[in-house]
Symmetry: C2
Subunit: 140 residues, 2 copies
């Protein structure tokens, strides 16, 4: 049921292609087979474990392809077994003008016997425009 | 200038203790010495590279201890060289009633010759209360 990819970047390309194409089976295949996975999408609660993660992504794939995501790479950190990619996503909802602010995403990949799998997807908002930020919210 | 810790958890404890105590020198010591680091705090832009990360944390430490953070662990993923901790943070600003919603944080640690260092800190908001969420914002 799962497919390992030859490199973290191949897994990442497959991830965003699956979203663009509404291909849930690819999403299922590329998420790591273990329970040591989590997903944090905008406005959502953390989904922890393989079933919770896949369940959280299902609505986006109902009715086929619904969004397109343009990705810019900001930083890669790679070890033998783990690759961490920080990217910026520009999400476009099909049939709607592009007006959502970009979001950050961290994607983490893990190397298994059959290749690289996705183990973490975490979105964070980009900062609001200057002047929109109350002083008490500036820090963690 | 940097100090490796005996375990990822020791590094995490030192990180939150440093924030509670306003100890910027500990923060400097525990962040990885390389440029392969990033920090994403609420409402902030991504800080990438050691100098940018440390600079982004400095204001919080000016004037000493300003916040307290209670941490609950949600998931640990650990390999030989990398540890990924997903936690929930409850941030309390000193002298203000506790009314900020909790935030998620992913902390990633990397093992070096001298021990474990922090390489990633990324916050994400927890979901808004039901009814506050416009439908077009439900998905990544």
């Amino acid at each position: 049921m799962t497919i390992g990819f030859a490199s973290p970047q191949d897994a990442e390309d497959a991830f965003y292609d699956a979203i663009d194409e509404g291909a849930f089976d690819t999403l299922e295949a590329l998420w790591d087979p273990s329970e040591e996975v989590f997903s944090l999408v905008p406005m959502g609660a953390a989904s922890i474990g393989r079933n919770a993660v896949l369940t959280s992504w299902q609505p986006l794939f109902q009715g086929g392809s619904q969004i397109e995501i343009e990705v810019s790479h900001l930083l890669w950190i790679e070890t033998e077994e783990i690759a961490i990619h920080l990217v910026e996503e520009r999400v476009k909802l099909r049939g709607q003008p592009d007006q959502q602010p970009p979001v950050y995403a961290t994607n983490v990949y893990r190397k298994r016997g059959d290749g690289w799998h996705l183990i973490v997807h975490q979105n964070s908002p980009t900062p609001p425009p200057p002047g929109m930020l109350p002083p008490q919210m500036r820090m963690p």
